[in-house]
Amino acid sequence: MIDAEAERNTRGRPPTFTSWLRNLTDTELAALFAARPDLISPVPADIAALAARAAAKPAVLRVLDRLDRFSLQILEGLVALGDDRLAGPPGVEPGALAAALGLPVDRLDPALATLCRTALVWEDGKHLRPVAVLRDIIPHPAGLGPPLRVLLGALPADRLNRLATDLGLVAGYAEGSPAERIAAALSRPERIDALLDSAGADAGPVIHRLVWGPPHGTVSEAARDIDTASAASPIERLLARGLLVPIDGSTVALPLEVGLHLRGGLLFQHVAATAPELSGTERTPTAITRASAGQAFTAIRSVEELLEHWADDPPSVLRNGGLGTRDLRRAARELDTDEAGTALFIETAHAAGLIAADGDVDGEWLPTPDYDLWRETTPERRWLRLAEAWLRSTRVAALNGSKDARGRSRAVLSDGLDRRSAPEVRLDVLRALAAAPEGLAPAPESIADHLAWQRPRRQGPTYSELVDAALREAAALGLTGRGALAPHARALLDELDEQDAPVADREEARSAAVLAGELPQPADRILVQADLTAIAPGPLVPELARELALAADVESTGGATVYRFTSASIRRALDAGRGAADLTALLERHSSTPLPQPLRYLISDVGRRHGRLRVGTASSYLRCEEPALLDELVSDRRAADLALFRLAPTVVASRSTRPVLLERLTDLGYHPVAEAADGAVQISRPDPRRAEGRSVSRHIGEPAPPGPKLRAAAIRAIRAGDAAATAVRRPIPAPDAEPPRSPTAATLSALTAAVARGRSVWIGYLDTDGRASSRIVEPASVDGGYLTAYDATRAAVHRFAVHRITGVADLDSGQEPTTTAEQTAGDPPGAAGF
C-alpha cells in the first residue's frame, strides 16, 4: 500500500490496523479470507468488525498453528523489534529485520508476504507492524525481555531517581519522566558497553546467562534498593546500572535493548530458514507406482467386496452408533486383511457416502444408493472418490480399539473416532512427502523432523499419533507406495484446491488420469480349467462378473479372481433362470481356452437333474372329488378374476387368497369349505438391500473453506457494511433549533408519507425519561403505533413510539443525511405550517 494513499484515505489520522485492512484491494481481501476462512463465518458487518475478529486471540492462534518455524521466527523478530513501546516509530523496516536475522532481505519476502496476507502483520508506511495481540501470545519474542521503558516504568520513583543520578542524568519529573530518560540513555550501545565494563569482569558471565533467553533470572530480594556505591555482588552492580531490572521481589529481567545489543544485534542463534532435508531410502519410480497402484486397486476392490457382503448380510448398528468388534473381525476375515486395514476401508467408504445406517429401529449398516453409482464408474474414479473422502474426513480409523477417557474402547463408525485436525495433518503429511525428491521414500523420523519445522506449534503426542496414522492410511489407500508419494497422489494434491468442487466430481481429474494407466482395466476373457475353476486374469466387465458370480463360487480375489464351479453354484445359476446350454455357451464365448470336458459334464449333470420337480406359488387351492364340478367352475366367466389354474383333474390352484376365494365362491353359489392351507415357497433371491437415506458425513471442526464465489460475496457485504458504517452512517447532529411540533394525526400521515417517499425527516421525540430530543431519522415503517427508522443522530435503527413523537418536519434536500459527516446540519427548517 502506498503511503500517500494511506494518508489520504485515513485523512491524516494515525494509521491503524483497521484502516490498513480497509485499504486492501479486493484481491488481497479474498486472499486473506482464503487463508483464514474463519474470518467470514459469519460474515462480519464491516471492516471494523473484521479487524476486531482478525486480531482476536483465538483467530490469531489458529493462524500461528499453521506457520512454519521460519515464519514464526520472523514473526517473533517483528514482535520484538516492532514493539511500539520502544523508542522511535512503531514497527520494523524489513531491512532492519533482515539484518537482525542475519539474512539478506529478499530471503524474508515469501514469509513476510504470507504474514501480511494472513493479516498477522500489517504495513504502516515502510514499517511492518505485528497485530497487538501477538505480544500477549508471544511474551518473550526471540527470548528477549520487555523494553526498558516498560521495565523502568514499573519501578518506584525514588529507585528511578537514584538510577538516573547514578547514570548521570537529571532526576525528578521536571523534564519529563525519568524512566523515559533512562531508557533513552540505556538504549545507546556505547552506553551499555561502558556500563558493563564498569560493572566489573565478573558481571559479564552473569548477564550472559540471560542473553539468549529466557530473559529472566531469580534473585533473592531483587527489588532491594541499591546504588552503584552500595552494590557489592555482580548482580547488584548490574541492577544498580539498570542493565538488569527487577520485576518483582525475586525476579530480574534483562531489558530487550540490552539483550539485543549483547547478542550483537542478532535475534536468533540459529535461523531455520529452510525445512530440514528429507532423507530415507531410494526406490525406483516403477516400484513406487506399481506398489501404490496395486494398493489403490486393493482398496477399491476391498470396499466393493465388503459392501457386497454387507448388502446380503448387514451388520447391525451399535447403540452408540458404531460397528461391533465382531462384525469388524468378520469383515477383516472376508477381506483377507487385518482389522486396522478393514477399519480404514469401512470409515473411508462411510466418508465417501457409500454406506449409511439404515433408519430402522434396529439399525443396520447398508450400502447407499450412491454405492451403485460409484460401482458404475471407472476404477480410477472410484479410487479418487475414496482417496478424497479420506483426505477431507475428520475420522481417524487408526483410533479404532483405543480407549477413550472413560476407558471404553472406541468403535469404528462411532463418534469417538472424530479428530478435527485430522484432515489438516493428512495434508501436512502428504505435502511433506511431496517435498521429497521423486523416488525417495522418507524415513518416518525424517518426516517427523520436517513436520516439526513445518508446524512447530502443533507438535505433541496427539499430532505424532495422527501423523503415524496418516502415513499408514495413505499407504493402505494407495496414496503412497513403498513409502514414497505416488504420482497419482501428487497430482491429487496439486489439483485439490484448484476449484471449489471436490476433485471426484470434476469432469477432469489429472490424478485419475495418471492412475488409470496403472490399474488393470476390465476384460472379458477367462481361463477355465479341468479342476473346475475359472480364472479371470484381471477385473472383468461387470456383466460377465455378475454372471460368473452367479454360476460359480469366488475362491480368491486380488489381481485376478478365481471362481470354482460346484454343482451347488451351477444350480444357483439355473435357479436364477439361466439354462444349462446358455451357461455352457457363455463360458465358451468368454473362455480363451477350450472348455474342459469335466465342466461340461458337471453343467449337463446338474442341468439334467434340475427342474425335474417343479414348485409354484398358489395362495389357495380347491379340491373336489367331482371333476365335473371343477370343469364348470374353471369355465365359469364370473370366476375369471380368481385366476384359477387346473393342476390336476381334481385340484385347482388360485392366486387369490383363501378368504377372497371363499367369499367369491359363496357369492357365485358354490358352497366351499376352508381347508388347512400350506405355505407358499419363495424361490427367488432377494435383491441386495440399500439404506433409505443418503449418508450424511459428520463434519465438525474447521468451517469448510469458502470458495471464491462466497469469498467475493463476503467482500461485497463487508465493503457495503463498511461504507454504511463509515461514509454514511456516522451520527448526524440534529438541528439546534427546537424540535418540531405537530398534531398526532399529522405526525402519523407525515411519517407514512416519509416512509413512502423514502425521505429523511426531523422529529422531536420524548425518550423514556420524558426528555425531549431532536432526531433525524429515515423512516422504514410505521406500524402498530411504532415507527421503525434509522436514527441518523445515533447511527442505529430504533423503534419510536408514535405517541411520544412530538412533531415531524421535512428536511430539505441540501440537508439529506446521506451527505458526509463533515457537513454539519444547517439551520433547522421552520416548523411545518400546521
Binding site: S292, G294, F297, A475, Q529, I535, P537, G538, V562, P598
Partner: protein
C-alpha cells in the same frame, strides 16, 4: 504383461502358457508352495512357513519382492509386500547355538524379541539361566520342544547348534548298472549341507534312492522309519541293490521281527504302538548312536513320532515326502522338528523330463439298473456307498477295459473284498487283500513285475509304497470315500517310468448319479490340481471312444 498374479489371500497365480512362466516358477519356488497345478494356471501359496523355508535356504525379502515386481502382471499391493518383509524378518532373530562354556543356548539378535519370548508361559520351563543380556541357556532335552513353541509364537529359531556325528559306518553307493539322477544328487547334497530337513519329490521320482544317497554322504548308522512292512522290504531291497550294504548290516524292526543293526528299518506302526499306555519300542531311538534318522512319507508321520523326534534334535534328520501338505495341518511341526524344506521339484516338471511316467485319467460312468437305483435310494446311509460302488454293472466294464488293454500290466484296485473277489473270479486273476500272507503277496508282486502275471486285483493294502514299475493300467472300482491322499498314492503306482515310456492309464469306474460319483469328483479334483486332466466317458461309449 507378465505371468504372475498376486491374490489378496497370498496365493500366486502363474499362467503356465506364458513365455516367462518357467523363469518365474524358478523365482517363486523358494518361497511359495505349489498348491494346484491344473493345465493353464498354477496356484502357489505364500505362507509364513514357506517364507521361513526360503529364509532357511538363504533367500531374503528383497529377493521375494523383486520376484513379485518383476513377474507380477498387476501392481502388487504395498501391504502385501510389507507383510512379507515383516514375516521373513522374524526368522533367525533367535538362534540356537552351541556355546563353548554354557552348552546349548538361545541367542537373540533382537533383545526385545528375547524379552517377549522368555516371558511366554509355554517357554519358561525350557529355558535356564540368562548368562548374557542376549543369551539364555536351553536345556538340551528341550531343543525340539523349544523350536516347536517358538514357531507357534511366530519367532522361528534358526538351529545352528550342530549335530552329533553318531556311530560311523561305511556306506557307499554301488553305482554301476545305474546312475544317480541329477535331481537326486542335488536333493541329497542340499540336505547334507543343511544338516536336516525335508526333501519333496513326487511319487516315483526315487525318494528311496535320495535316502540311500544321503546315507552315503553321512556315512553313519541310520534309522529308517517307514509306513508299513511291505515298505520295509522294499527299502531293504533298494538299499541292497543301490549301496554297498550287505544283508547282515540291515535290520528289520516290525511287528514280527525286532532286529537292531547298523541300518535299521522300522515301521511307524510299531514305533507308535503302546503296551499298557507306554510306548514300548521307544528304546530303539536310543539303542544305537544313530548318525541319521530318515522319515519316509513325512506327511503321514503320526503324532507320537513327532514327540519322540523332539528329543532327537541333535541327530541329523531327513524327511522324504511327496507333499508338505498334511491333512492334519501339522506342517509347522515338520518344519520345526524335522527341518525346513531342502529340495523341491514340481511333479509336472519331472514328468516332462521323463523321470516319471505320464498318465491319462479317465472316469468311466456306469448306469445303475432301475432295480439297483431303487435299492440304492432305500439303502441305509452307511451302506449306500458300498452299494453303489460295488454295483454289478462295473464288472462288465472292467472286463471290457481289460480286453482293450490286453498285453499290458493291469492293476485292479478296490476297497470292498466281496467286489474284488467277484472281479477276481470274473477275470480269472489273483486277488491280494488284507488276509493274503506277506509271502504270498510278495510272490504275486514278483510275478506281476516279471510279467508272468498280467492282471492283479488288489485291495487297499497296496496303496502305499509298493513298487510295481511295470503297471501301465490301473482300474479303480471303489475307493475309501474321497481321500485325496489315496488317489495320489494309487496314481503313484502307475508313475514309475515304463521301459518303453508308454503313457499310463488310470480308470476310475463310478456309478452315475450316486455318491460314488461325488466321491470320485472329490478325488479327481486332486488329480486335476496335480495337472492330470481327466476325461469322463459313459460306459456305453467306452468301446467306441477309447
Amino acid at each position: 504383461m507378465s505371468c504372475l498374479i498376486v491374490q489378496s489371500d497370498k496365493t500366486l497365480l502363474l499362467e503356465v502358457g506364458h513365455e516367462l512362466a518357467d523363469e518365474c516358477r524358478r523365482a517363486i519356488a523358494p518361497f511359495a508352495e505349489l498348491e494346484r497345478a491344473p493345465e493353464h494356471v498354477h496356484t502357489y501359496r505364500v505362507t509364513p512357513l514357506a517364507l521361513w523355508n526360503a529364509r532357511a535356504a538363504g533367500h531374503d525379502a528383497e529377493q521375494v519382492i523383486d520376484a513379485f515386481i518383476t513377474y507380477s502382471r498387476f501392481p502388487v499391493p504395498h501391504s502385501l509386500l510389507v507383510d512379507i518383509t515383516e514375516t521373513m524378518d522374524r526368522y533367525g532373530r533367535l538362534r540356537l547355538h552351541a556355546h563353548p562354556a554354557h552348552g546349548l543356548v538361545l541367542q537373540a539378535l533382537d533383545r526385545a524379541v528375547l524379552e517377549e519370548v522368555v516371558r511366554a508361559k509355554k517357554i519358561k520351563g525350557m529355558l535356564g539361566e540368562r548368562v548374557e543380556p542376549d543369551t539364555v541357556v536351553v536345556h538340551p532335552s528341550e531343543r525340539g520342544n523349544l523350536k516347536q513353541a517358538l514357531l507357534k509364537l511366530g519367532w522361528p529359531a534358526e538351529d545352528l547348534a550342530g549335530y552329533v556325528d553318531g556311530e560311523a559306518h561305511a556306506i557307499d553307493l554301488a553305482e554301476g548298472d545305474w546312475e544317480l539322477r541329477g535331481y537326486q544328487r542335488e536333493a541329497a547334497d542340499s540336505f547334507h549341507a543343511g544338516g536336516s530337513g525335508v526333501v519333496v519329490l513326487p511319487c516315483g521320482a526315487g525318494k528311496t534312492i535320495v535316502g540311500a544317497a544321503a546315507m552315503s554322504l553321512v556315512k553313519a548308522t541310520t534309522l529308517i522309519l517307514v509306513t508299513n512292512t511291505v515298505s520295509v522290504h522294499q527299502w531293504r531291497g533298494e538299499l541292497l541293490r543301490r549301496t554297498t550294504l550287505t544283508e547282515d548290516e540291515i535290520g528289520e524292526y516290525s511287528g514280527t521281527r525286532k532286529e537292531i543293526r547298523p541300518v535299521t528299518i522300522a515301521t511307524y506302526q510299531v514305533m507308535a504302538a503302546r503296551r499298557k499306555g507306554v510306548h514300548s519300542h521307544l528304546e530303539l531311538f536310543g539303542a544305537r548312536d544313530w548318525g541319521l534318522v530318515i522319515y519316509d512319507e513325512v506327511h503321514l508321520l503320526p503324532a507320537p513320532i513327532f514327540r519322540m523326534t523332539a528329543e532327537l534334535q541333535a541327530r541329523r534328520r531327513l524327511g522324504l515326502t511327496a507333499t508338505l501338505v498334511r491333512e492334519d495341518g501339522r506342517e509347522g511341526d515338520v518344519f520345526s522338528l524335522i527341518g525346513p524344506k531342502r529340495y523341491d521339484a514340481p511333479w509336472k516338471e519331472m514328468e516332462n523330463q521323463g523321470w516319471i511316467a505320464p498318465a491319462d485319467c479317465v472316469e468311466v460312468r456306469v448306469n445303475l439298473s432301475d432295480a439297483e437305483r431303487l435299492a440304492y435310494a432305500t439303502a441305509e446311509p452307511e451302506d449306500r456307498y458300498r452299494f453303489c460302488a460295488s454295483s454289478a454293472a462295473k464288472i462288465s466294464v472292467v472286463q471290457e477295459l481289460i480286453r482293450r488293454h490286453e498285453g499290458e500290466q493291469t492293476l485292479i484296485i478296490g476297497s470292498y473284498i466281496d467286489q474284488l473277489d467277484e472281479l477276481g473270479a470274473a477275470l480269472d486273476a489273483p486277488v491280494i487283500k488284507g488276509e493274503t500272507r506277506v509271502k504270498e503277496r510278495e510272490r504275486l508282486f514278483d510275478a506281476f513285475r516279471s510279467g508272468e502275471l498280467s492282471t492283479l486285483v488288489v485291495s487297499k493294502v497296496a496303496n502305499f509304497s509298493i513298487d510295481l514299475p511295470e503297471a501301465g493300467v490301473a482300474i479303480q472300482v471303489s475307493g475309501s470315500f474321497g481321500s485325496r491322499q489315496e488317489e495320489a498314492q494309487r496314481l503313484g503306482r502307475l508313475l514309475r517310468p515304463k521301459s518303453d515310456s508308454r503313457t499310463a492309464r488310470f480308470y476310475a469306474v463310478v456309478a452315475r448319479d450316486t455318491i460314488d460319483q461325488e466321491f470320485a469328483a472329490h478325488r479327481q479334483r486332486f488329480l486335476a490340481e496335480q495337472g492330470y486332466a481327466y476325461r469322463i466317458a459313459d460306459a456305453d461309449d467306452v468301446l467306441d471312444e477309447l
